[in-house]
């Protein structure tokens, strides 16, 4: 029996460790580094809490009927169906939908008083190319996106061949890169640092390796860095 217990313990520890390992790292949505990703993480936690509440209520009622014969007899079957099967999920799901819609509105790149920095992201099989139209003379960068930290940046996303998807999990949601069409994603990194990005739409055999990094710089260093990238590119 002790050997069996230690196997159970080891299994739980391994599974728990593997699950918790996904909470951190350069591509973790549960370790947000900006307001958009923060809103998405909050949405996840609220959705998760909602599902836990519904699960506990449902299993609790099931266990009550199993362990205590006669439980719930005071209510007619019709009332059980209406309140437990209709009213309860409708209330919980309505609250979750309202919260999700409110969070979704916050993610939209609506016009600001002062226009944010614009960066163009072009996807092609299987590489990301970034341009800086607001910075005169700045050269394109391949697989490295430079942005200023602490300021909103509008990423204008498009593709040259097939549909791809731009995703920096720690900074925001994903948005499709579609040939002949421009989508705008607003990102903001709270702190300078390096954040991982990937293509989130299967786009061919090289899809799995179509990643990039976002380097968020202090605003005063950003212009120099982008110009430096131009110098490096020209050499």
């Amino acid at each position: 029996m002790p050997a069996r217990n230690s196997w159970i313990k080891a299994t739980f520890l391994t599974a728990g460790g593997a699950a918790l390992a996904g909470c951190a790292g350069p591509l973790s949505t549960l370790d947000p580094a900006g307001p958009s990703a923060g809103a998405i993480a909050n949405l996840f936690y609220v959705m998760f809490a909602g599902s836990v509440i519904l699960f506990v209520l449902t299993i609790g009622l099931l266990l009550a009927t199993l362990l205590k014969p006669g439980f719930g007899k005071s209510l007619s079957p019709r009332r059980w169906i209406v309140w437990g099967g209709l009213a309860m999920p409708v209330v919980v799901l309505t609250a979750l939908v309202i919260f999700a819609l409110a969070m979704g509105e916050r993610l939209i790149a609506s016009p600001l008083a002062s226009a944010p920095e614009r960066v163009e992201a072009r996807a092609s099989q299987w590489v990301w190319t970034f341009s800086y139209p607001d910075r005169e003379g700045a050269a394109d960068t391949i697989s490295v996106l430079h942005i200023p930290a602490g300021e909103p940046v509008d990423i204008v996303i498009t593709a040259e061949d097939v549909i791809h998807s731009f995703w920096v999990p720690r900074l925001g949601g994903k948005l499709d890169a579609i040939p002949g069409h421009e989508n705008v994603l607003r990102l903001l990194a709270d702190q300078p640092g390096t954040y991982g990005g990937v293509c989130a739409e299967f786009c061919g055999v090289g899809h799995a390796n179509m990643d990039f990094v976002v380097q968020a710089h202090e605003p005063e260093d950003y212009a120099a860095t982008v110009s430096g990238a131009a110098t490096e590119a020209s050499q």
Partner: protein, 118 residues
């Protein structure tokens, strides 16, 4: 003389079971299509009556039409001989069409206020 449509529904009463949610599906596809077209043609940038964009007017009108069509469907069904029989399919069809109306309001109601384009 009954119309072919009425005759079809009389012969296949199960059609009433799916009528409400069939309308919901059709509305979903139509709104999705019109939303995409409107965003592509910048209908959301136009300013029509009461500060409403063409995109908003079209989407809200379509959602309202779906509500009206569903209510009409419920009333039409309640006048039919199928509804008078009060059998299982008849009662289920009546309830499902009412549930479909709530789903139409719940799912498409947000077109009144949400941002139409990204």
């Amino acid at each position: 003389m009954k119309s072919p449509a009425t005759e079809t529904v009389r012969r296949f009463p199960i059609l009433w079971l799916v009528a409400g949610f069939g309308l919901w599906s059709l509305t979903f596809l139509t709104l999705y299509m019109v939303l995409t077209l409107g965003c592509a043609f910048s209908w959301h940038m136009t300013d029509h009556a009461f500060g409403l964009s063409l995109q908003r007017i079209v989407l809200v009108t379509l959602a309202l039409l779906a509500c009206i069509a569903n209510i009409g469907m419920i009333r039409l069904y309640r006048r039919s001989e199928l509804h008078e029989r009060r059998d299982t399919i008849g009662v289920a069809a009546d309830r499902l069409n009412i549930v479909a109306l709530f789903c139409i309001i719940f799912t498409f109601g947000p077109v009144v206020a949400l941002s139409p384009c990204h």
